[in-house]
Structures are given as structure tokens and as C-alpha cells.
């Protein structure tokens, strides 16, 4: 035990020193405190954890609610909900919240440091402008000189005003005003793609897994391999040539009609379908060798019933765990697909924000991605519990 503490302690010290030397002492210190706070929660007794979890939940809810309901009602609702959470929610949910809220703050902090370490600035222009103009703009858009100062201003804006700051590259709108219309576009397109991917992937995968090393297996997996190997701008281009240029059935790009959906949804779906097919195949092969399947067959059930009623649930377990992060990824959009098909979604903000050093946009995308991925991981855990009785006990 003492050895472990010394080893971990010295690694931490070296890391801290390295951080201090590269990004600055204060930055390293804030990071250290953040990590210490998050890790210390592991040792909190349940009643303390409930209080900390509820308090963090209140802060999170307030930042979110005040933009919808206003400052005072927002605060009241947040406190009421937090009290309810403290009283009724199980401690494992508090542990999740206790992990999520400080992690998001640390995410914002680390992202800010990394952004400031990258050369360039949101106001950089090919034609050089005067120092005064740059300073006036920085003041107007609250882009501070150091990462630490920016982090402070940003967190203040987030908590006190419930705003994610201003974009420098598309002015006149806050980051939430830019991202919120884009999110449903990406989510609905992603949902569509996900349904296509699940349908295609499961059909192909289960078909392959039921008869391993048959023609059905090789053909399905061959298709899946192509889906994984081809980058989606190639798939998209092939689809465009076939459906838009040769048959002139579908529009090449844009947004506004159901016709605009089909090609981007398929392009987005194919690589996911391929992964799902491979996972489903492995899952199926494994499940079909289990004792309970043999029992079901021995009972005299038809093959179809055996597969649908008994094997399917087990076969899609690996798919479900893949779906968590996959959904988060697909819901936040794809830069390539959105650019190719001119879809006004979330994906392009990840790239244009970073390339333009549009600091608030970068943080906004990071926050949304983080929220969605944590949320879906949580959902996956619940889905697991529902699908697999063994997991239910552990949760």
C-alpha cells in the first residue's frame, strides 16, 4: 500500500512539474486540484456523496434553467430539483453526477489551455490590422490574453449568465444560438442513419453469424469490410454519381426537403452498419453455442423462435455497448458528410471552430459532445441492465 502511494505520488509529482513547466504553474495547480477533487469522491461515504451530488446537480441545472426560465425561477427550480434528488435518488446516480459536473469543468479548462497553446488567434487575418483594433475586438468578444483569464470569464458567463459566449467568426449570435439549431439537424439525420445502420448491420451480421464460414458469411462480411475501409467521402461521391448524376433521382446537396436526407443518411450509416454487422456476427456465433440455446432447441422450438426469442437478445449485447459512443458520435454530426452534402448540422462546427480558433465555439462543441456522450453511456448501462439479468444485479 505504502509502495503504491509512493509510486502514484511520484508519477503525479513528475506530471505536475512537467505541466508547470510547459503550460504554467497556476494552470497545473488548477488541474491538480480538479483531478484530486474528482478522485476524492471515490472515498466519500454515501451521505456525503448525496449532498455533494445534489449540490453539483443544482449548479448544473441552474446554469441550464436560467436561460429558459430566468434567473430567480431558474434558481428556485434548480434548488427544488436538487433537494428532491438528494432525498430520493440512489447514491450511484449521485456518484455519476458527482463525476460528470466537475469533469465538464475540467474538460473546459483543459480545452482552454490547449486552445491557447495552439498558435494563432480568432482575430488573425491575412491583412494585418492595427494593435488597437485587435485589442478592441478582444475586449468586445471577451477573448482574454491568457488561458486562465479566459477560463474565468467563460465559467462566469456560463454560470452567471447561462451563455456559452460569442462566436467571432459568425457574429451577432451566441454560441448556443449557433449550435442549438444545428443540433436537431444532426440528431435527426443521425437517428435516421442509426436506424438504417442497425437494420442493415443486424440483418447482415446475424445472417452471417448463423452460418459461419458459409457463402452468406463471407459475402456479408465482405460488404462490411468495404463499408469500414472506404472513407465516407468516397462512399458519398459514389452515391452522388449513381443517384444524382446518372439517374438524377436525388439532389446533390442542400437542406429543406426529404430528398435531401437520403444520400447523407446512407453515407453516414454505411460505416456504422459495417461495424454493427461484425459485432452482431460475433455475438451470434457465441450465443448460438450457449447451453440455453441448445436447451431451447431441445425443447423442440422452431429455429426462428430460437433465434428471435432466445438468441437475439444475447447476440445484440456487444452491439448495444457499441451504440452508446456511436450514437453520441453520429448525433453530433460528421464534418465530411455535412460539408459534402451541405447539411447545416453540428459536425462542421467541431472543425471550423478549431481551425478558426473560435474559442467559444470550440468549448461549446466540447460541452455538447461531452453531455451527449455521458448521457448515452448512461443509457447504455440501463439498456444492458434491461437486456442482461446478470448486469442488473451489479448496477
Amino acid at each position: 500500500m505504502r509502495g503504491a502511494v509512493i509510486v502514484v505520488g511520484s508519477i503525479g509529482a513528475v506530471f505536475f512539474l512537467a505541466m508547470g513547466l510547459t503550460v504554467g504553474l497556476w494552470e497545473a495547480l488548477v488541474l491538480l486540484i480538479g483531478v484530486a477533487f474528482i478522485s476524492s469522491m471515490l472515498w466519500y461515504p454515501p451521505h456525503v456523496m448525496r449532498i455533494v451530488g445534489a449540490a453539483l446537480l443544482a449548479v448544473f441545472l441552474f446554469a441550464f434553467l436560467q436561460t429558459i426560465a430566468g434567473t430567480v425561477p431558474g434558481a428556485v427550480i434548480a434548488i427544488v430539483l436538487a433537494v428532491l434528488a438528494w432525498r430520493f435518488l440512489p447514491v450511484r446516480v449521485h456518484r455519476r453526477v458527482g463525476f460528470m459536473v466537475p469533469s465538464m469543468v475540467m474538460l473546459i479548462f483543459v480545452t482552454t489551455i490547449l486552445m491557447y497553446m495552439a498558435p494563432g488567434s480568432p482575430f488573425a487575418q491575412e491583412k494585418q490590422t492595427t494593435q488597437q483594433a485587435l485589442e478592441a475586438q478582444a475586449k468586445k468578444f471577451k477573448v482574454e490574453k491568457t488561458a486562465l483569464a479566459f477560463f474565468g470569464t467563460y465559467m462566469k458567463g456560463l454560470l452567471a449568465d447561462g451563455t456559452m459566449g460569442l462566436s467571432v467568426k459568425v457574429q451577432g449570435r451566441t454560441v448556443e444560438q449557433l449550435l442549438m439549431p444545428a443540433l436537431p439537424v444532426s440528431m435527426s439525420l443521425g437517428l435516421l442513419a442509426l436506424v438504417i445502420a442497425c437494420f442493415l448491420g443486424l440483418v447482415l451480421g446475424i445472417r452471417a453469424g448463423l452460418k459461419p464460414n458459409s457463402f452468406a458469411d463471407y459475402s456479408s462480411m465482405g460488404v462490411a469490410m468495404i463499408g469500414i475501409s472506404l472513407p465516407n467521402f468516397v462512399i458519398g461521391a459514389i452515391l452522388l454519381v449513381i443517384f444524382s448524376y446518372s439517374f438524377q433521382l436525388l439532389p446533390v446537396a442542400g437542406w429543406g426537403t426529404y430528398g435531401h436526407l437520403i444520400l447523407p443518411a446512407i453515407t453516414l450509416a454505411l460505416p456504422y452498419a459495417a461495424y454493427i454487422a461484425r459485432l452482431a456476427r460475433n455475438g451470434t456465433i457465441e450465443v448460438m453455442q450457449q447451453d440455453f440455446v441448445r436447451t431451447a432447441r431441445a425443447k423442440g422450438l422452431s429455429e426462428q423462435t430460437v433465434i428471435v426469442k432466445h438468441a437475439l437478445k444475447g447476440a445484440i449485447l456487444p452491439v448495444v455497448s457499441f451504440l452508446g459512443p456511436a450514437t453520441a458520435g453520429i448525433f453530433t454530426g460528421s464534418f465530411v458528410v455535412e460539408k459534402l452534402f451541405a447539411v447545416p448540422g453540428m459536425g462542421q462546427w467541431f472543425v471550423t471552430g478549431a481551425l478558426g480558433r473560435d474559442y467559444s465555439v470550440v468549448l461549446g462543441t466540447a460541452i455538447i459532445y461531452f453531455t451527449i456522450i455521458t448521457l448515452f453511456n448512461l443509457l447504455v448501462d440501463f439498456a444492458y441492465a434491461w437486456l442482461d439479468p446478470r448486469v442488473r444485479e451489479e448496477l
Binding site: A118, P119, G120, S121, A124, Q125, K127, Q128, T129, T130, Q131, Q132, A133, E135, A136, K139, K140, F141, L166, V168, K169, V170, Q171, G172, R173, T174, L178, P181, A182, P184, V185, M187, S188, L191, L192, V195, C198, F199, A237, L240, S244, Y245, Q248, P251, V252, A253, G254, W255, G256, T257, Y258, L261, Q304, K339, L340, F341, A342, P344, G345, L355
Partner: protein
Amino acid sequence: MYRNLLGIGAVFAIALILVGITFSASQEEPADFRFINGSEPKSLDPHVVTGQLEGRIVDSLFEGLTFRDPKTLKPVPGCAESWDISADGKTYTFHIREEARWTDGVPITAHTFAWSWQRLQEPSKGHEYAYILHVIKGAEAYNLYEGHVERLVGPLEKGDTIVQALAKLRRENPGGVDRATWSGFMRDQKINDVVKGTRDPVIQRALLGADGRLDAGFLEQLGSSLEREAERRRALHTQAQEHFGVDEGVYAKDDRTLVVELNAATPYFLELTSFYSAHPVPRHLIERLAAERKASGENEGKEDWFLPDNIVTNGPFRLSAWRVNEKIRLERSETYWNKESIRLRIIDAFPYDNTNTALNVYLTGGADWTPTYPTSIVGALKKRPDFRKNPGMVVYYYRFNCTKPPFNDARVRRAVAMAIDRQLIIDNITKLGQPPAYRLTPPGLGDYEPPPAAWGYDPEGARKLLADAGFPGGKGIGSLTLLYNTNESHKAIAEEVASQLKKQLGFQVKALNQEWQIYQASTLALEYDIARAGWIGDYLDPNTFLDMWITNGGNNQTGWSHALYDRLIAYAADVDTFLPDAEKVVPELKEHDKARALVAAVSSADGAAARVDAAARLRLHILREAEAIFCDELPVVPLYFYVVSSMVQPYVKGFYQHPQDIHPLRGLWIDKEAR
């Protein structure tokens, strides 16, 4: 099983409905004219925007005193129905049109313009293109001098003022400093920016490097000169704050008479009045929204008067929708004074920046004009009848880092310039018949005659020059890097140039790409050997290509410095300052006979108009001499002049080709039968 299928079907249906909700465009009627604008505008505030793609929209929404005639691009009466110019060319009196209105019916008066131009110069706004109107008396003082004073003598929040830093430099070097140290000091402190246009002889001498060593006495003298300069600027700023926009520079004599006073006769001033930075902005709306923001405690940076819900405009079109990353929709304005001349009713501008998407949309009939397309297939596209091209006002060049070997030697720079086979690059990579560049200014800049070519493609001569400089066969140069920003065609050119240099001059050059922001930071910090760049002329005048190369100029980024060049650029800005110095400067010029004749023509000119005319000719000659110095010294190696091109459907009429690559939307119309 059926339950499961039903479930999947239900999710699918929900997804489709969800998507449908985000379709706000489905009810819209189709546009008359659709084009690919290439990116999302940063803003639609005429004072904030700085780019061509924003200019296309802003010029359609707002109208200045004049607007560009779509065919000739010459300024014609807009908000001003007429104007008078004083004999000395320094005072313009504009008569504002009575019918000029915002879309909400509020009239546009001379006061609107005075306030708008004052807003453009507002120091706290940080408008990048404020300098466009610095030709107006008091504008620069109003815009910049307060900041200059702060940098010179304080008060600063942290760090040293220039005067303090200079005192420190003097203490550390009691024996004075050499020229290199001084150049470094000037670069670090950005002295040029804050004393630009000074008349103080001591500061002027210091800026030009003081012809060698700067002794302690001179540095002390310089310190007090800088303090005096700060005082002068403080006084000018205070005066401008009181008077600029009120009764000096630009002001309203009455509701319909706007007076503009210039620092010097400026032949291109009317052209400036049609430029988007000089457009009027709706004061009544901006001030109302600012008051509301203040009341609700919102950030000043969230200035949003130009969003569709708020905006009022005065141009031929009004903003009907702006959906980010989807499109901007313009509709013909019913309140525009000259609406009969506008033939398009609805215009859609798509912000697609993916060139493949742009071309796909164009080729399948989704757009009528695309200025962008994948350059890799230009060879196939240029054969199409709807492909239009013409020479542009852009030069493509490579910067040299003139602060370190080997490119601190002009002979090495010239050797590189002579060793590159430009025609090969044009034939195999750029493929549009671009004119090869052996100088900086592109052809077709009004009356300007560029200096005769001092050199050409000559690998043999290049090798000889390199040997003279002490690098025979490229030995001793080592390995250099050629920096370019990530882009397919920059990459192809960089690799071609690198291989040509290896072949012709024998030294190794490695083409290195950096992402745009990093590339910019590198060139600014002079962390490169050779770096790619391009320059788009702002106006049809050689000055827009030449004035950036003054010592430590913000866009110089080569470390190159030449005293006479700096002086010539300063003289060109105000020819009247050249005449007293002519005796001294003319003998230093290459074509001194011609210069002398032009100076004589100015002094003997009969009448004010003839004098203005002669001075304009002398000015162009001064710029020609400056370019001759540039072509001898070559801080950059010019490669080629751009050919601007786009794909336009044949049924689009009123689309004219110009070197400036400006195509006002107001002049376009659709030949419905041809469509």
C-alpha cells in the same frame, strides 16, 4: 418479431418527423438567382466585414453615397444625387437624395453619413477597415491616436511604454546601438505603427535606421522627440473627438448636404465612397438595440442589429433570411429609390465552402453561378462554354526571410527568382494561362506603367549570381524549408519550385505545409526561410501592392528594409511633401530625367486642375521608382498573376468580367427564354 419491426418502424417515423421540423425552407418560393458564396459571412455590418464574399451581400443590402456601375465598376450616384469637388481636390460636397430611405421608412440624411463614418472610426469598435477612410481629415486621429499615445507614453496596464523601453535600451547600451539591434528593437516595439506619418525629423531618421549606428545622444534626443510626438497626437485626438463628424472631416451642413474634407487631393476618393466600409448604417436602430442590451445587461459584443429580425437596409435588396450554413436570402427592396432598375426579385446565396459541393450543385442546376470549383479539374472545366476567366488583380509570390542567411543577401534572392521556370508551373499546375510575374504589380492598374523588367528566367545567370554570393553550386546553403498553408495547389507549386531549385541551383529545399493559423503565426514571427503568399489589390492602383513593404510594415513579414523605398512610399501618399525634397531625392532615382521633368510639370502647372493632374502623374512615377527598387532587391519572388474565373450559366445576363472580380448582384438579370 412483428412487435420489433413495429418498433423499428416507429423510430424511423419519429426520425423523419424530427427532420421535417428542421425544414424551415420547405414553404419558400424558388429564387430567381442562386449562387455559391463560398463561406459564411462573419457579419453583415458594413463596418465589420472585410471580405469579398461579405461584400457581395453587403453591397446588395446597403448603398453608399455612390455605387459601382455593374458594367464599368466606376462610381455612379447612389444616396448622393450629385456632388461638387473643390478646385484643390480636397473638399467634396455631396447632395443627398431626397428619396433615400431605410426599409422602415426613416429618411437617410447627411447626418446619417456623418454619424456612420464616425462610427467606422470609433476606436473602441476595432473596425479593421477604418483605415479605408483615413484620407479624411481627422479620421486617423480620431481612430488611432489615443492608442498611439498609450503605447508611446502610457498609461499601460502592464509592460513598458515605448519611451520607457527606449530609456532602458539606452541604459543597457551606453555606447549606442548598431543598426541590427535597432531594427530588432523597432520590430519588437512596433514603433512604425504608432508614429506613422510623423513629421519629426529625428523620428524619421530613426525609422530609417539612422544610416548605421545610433549613438546615445541620438537615442536621448529620440526619447524626447517621441514624447513630443505623443503630445502632438494627444492634442490632435482631443480635437478630433470634439470636431470629427461634427464640423470637421465629415459633417452635415444641413439635412441634405454632406461635406467631406480630405488631407490631400485623393484621385480615388469617389471610388472609396462606393466601398462597403463607407456605407451608411441605421443609427436609429443601432442605438435603440444598444440601449436595450445595456438595460438587460448583455455583452456589447453581441451586436445583432444586422440579423434578419432586426435589420433595416437602404440598398436594392433587403435581407429576408439568414440561416447559418444553409443560405442567405435577399429580396428586392420595395422602398429602394431606384427599384425599377433591379430585375432580380429573389436571390439565394449558399455558403458552401467545399469546392466539390459547389461544383456538384452548379452542374446539377442548383446554382446559377459558382466562383469556386475544385482547381484540380480546371483543365477539363476550362473547355466548357460557361467557364469565364479574365486577368485578376492578385499576385502569387514567395516571401524570403531577409533577416538571416542565405536570403539576407539580395543576390541569393535574385538567383532564386531567376532560376524558377514560371511557365512550367503555369502550364502544368495552374493551367489557366496566368501571366508569369517578374515584378509585383499586375497589369492593368489604370495609368500606371511598371518599371522595365530587370531580370527574367535565366538559370545560367542565377548560378553565377549564387556563386558571386559565396555559394557556388548551392554549397554552404544547407537545407531550407519552403512553407505553405495547407492547400492542394500550393502544395503542387511548392514541390515543383523545390525540385527546380535543387536542379538549377543545387541546394535542398523542403516543402513544408502548416495549417492556416500556424502558418500565419510562423510568417509573422519570421520563422521560415521561404513562405508562400498572395496579395489581392484593394483598389486599382499600384500603391495597394507597394505600400505594404515599408520597414516593419504589418504585411511585410520578410524583415526587408530599404530607406529610399520607405521614403518614396511616404512621398507617394502626399506628393506635396516630395516637391521640397525633390532636389535631394531625384538624383538617387533610376529614371531621374523623367522624374525631374515631372517635378517641373507640377511646379509650372497652370491652374489647380492642371496641377492636380500633374501631381497624379508624378505620384505614379514615384511608385514606379519604388517598384524598380523592389524588383532589384526582391524581398519576395513573384511567381504569377492570378486569372480570376467562375462558372456562370449562359442565361445569367449583366455579368461582366473585371480584374477586381466584383460582380454586383444589382446588375444581374435572367434571360427566361434562354433558361
